[in-house]
């Protein structure tokens, strides 16, 4: 037993040590991020006054919310098609494309999408490169995750519930609204949160497909991290770790709840 505890302790220290470092030094008084010189929350104040960061954060939140919503709709349709339509024409290609979105290096996906957007620029009514193209790129990535979650949820779903409702005279639309939808709602909520977090964290896709006008929060953080350490980034990171932890714990809770329902 003690060997197991030793391993657990070591690996958790490795996983959480660096995150702990960020949080602790975000409250450091001095500019030197590596030397402790007293407790202070001044970097959080500076963060709020940094217009570039605040603007980027606002844009990122909007992009994340819109792309996550799109991803949830598209992913739900995909997951439904894969779980319920049986063998349809092009199923293998469809499932393969969704799987590939999940596993391809982001550098390839970003470059490919940018080239398509450049070609589509000439289409009348096509929005130029910027927030809209970032939303499209993030929604594509997010829908693959949502499809995975929704498909898994529908796979271990008791279909006799739907059949019972049909037997009792409900129309298919009523069955969907009153039986199917409530049962997959946790999966949709969890999928939305996953997509939201992915969008809020992505620097590679956004850098490729955005125009000169749109700079997201990860793009600002990345260019700042390239120049080295910055206590403001520590403060921002602490906030992001907090928000991320809350989002993930809610997603786990939402996805975990379905299991109790299923029983």
């Amino acid at each position: 037993m003690s060997l197991r505890l030793l391993i657990l302790g070591f690996v958790f220290a490795f996983l959480y040590g660096p995150i702990l470092w960020i949080v602790v030094f975000s409250f450091n008084e001095g500019r030197l991020v590596t030397l402790w010189s007293g407790f202070s929350t001044k970097w959080y104040g500076e963060l709020m006054r940094n217009d570039r960061l605040v603007d980027a954060a606002g844009l990122s939140l909007v992009i994340a919310a819109v792309s996550a919503t799109l991803a949830t709709v598209l992913g739900a349709l995909s997951g439904f098609a894969l779980a319920r339509l049986g063998k349809f024409k092009g199923r293998l290609l469809f499932a393969g494309a969704l799987g590939a979105v999940l596993t391809l290096p982001e550098v390839i996906l970003g470059l490919a999408q940018l080239l398509a957007f450049v070609a589509l620029d000439d289409l009348p009514g096509w929005p130029g490169r910027g927030a809209a193209t970032i939303v499209a790129a993030h929604a594509t990535l997010g829908m693959a995750y949502v499809a995975l979650v929704v498909q898994a949820r529908l796979a271990d779903f008791d279909r006799s519930l739907e059949e019972a409702a049909l037997d009792l005279g409900a129309t298919p639309a009523m069955v969907f609204a009153t039986v199917t939808l409530p049962l997959i709602l946790p999966a949709l909520g969890g999928g939305w949160l996953i997509s939201f977090m992915i969008s809020l964290d992505d620097v590679v896709l956004a850098s490729f497909v955005s125009g000169p006008g749109a700079t997201t929060l990860p793009m600002v953080v990345f260019s700042s991290a390239r120049l080295g350490l910055n206590p403001q980034i520590n403060a921002l990171a602490t906030l992001m770790v907090g928000v991320g932890a809350i989002a993930v714990l809610s997603a786990v809770w939402l996805l975990g709840r379905k299991q109790e329902h299923a029983r």
Binding site: F14, L35, F94, L104, P105, L148, R226
Partner: protein
Amino acid sequence: MNGLVRRLLVAVPALWLLVFFGLPFAFILKVALSQAVVAQPPFTPLFQDGAFQGSLANFALLVEDDLYFDAILASLRLAVTSTVACLLLGYPMAWAIAGTAKRWRAPLLALVALPFATSFLIRVYAWIGLLRPTGLVNEALQYLGLIDGPLALMPSDFAVALGMTYTYLPFMVLPIYASLEKIDPAYAFAAADLGARPGRVFWSITLPLSLPGVLAGSLFVFVPSVGEFVVPELLGGPGTPMIGKVIWQEFFNNRDWPLASALAVVLLILLAYPISRAQRAEATTARGLS
């Protein structure tokens, strides 16, 4: 469900994937066959005056110039290093979790996955603070008197491998745990009854039965590591030319879109087999963990 609804259900997401996933790959192939020019967009058209203008010149350049071959080798080497490091940390971790009381397993797994779901960028940034010459690791080692001057921990290949190991470790732990958890304890009991020592039980029963998880985890770490960009950019130096970074530089710094596209095509071919294996493993792992 009637036919029209069924068709719409597939058509909407399929059309989206066609425009934002299928079409982009057609364009990457097209641009890889063209040449860089100073224009908007910065590449030559594939057809001009009805004649096909494409060539394999970019691919020829990739073969001729050692820089690109070295980048591919460096990417493979660092991806294998991170995969092995993840295995050495992740297997014992999965084994340790699988051996705890049942009520502890779900919370422990959630704790493993939790950092993975917080910002990737931030977790890489943290290592800059730990590894740089005046960073926490060097300060601590000097304070303990183990070293006289700061070690050059970053930028280096070591820092890149460490950064990738750190960020992808949960990908290794989860599938190995899923395969360890599935093993019927009766096998181990039977072996022990027949006189096998704990070490022997592990080598002849537990380890072989957990190999599918080891393979899945290795693929989940290896595939994203090969094409990684953020980690080598932040923790590596000019001496760490991983292929993801070279694609980025050709595109953004040199504005050579055709060469960047050709490199992306090469990386795609290189990863096609591991990706297809990873997709199969993905489905199995998702079933195992749910």
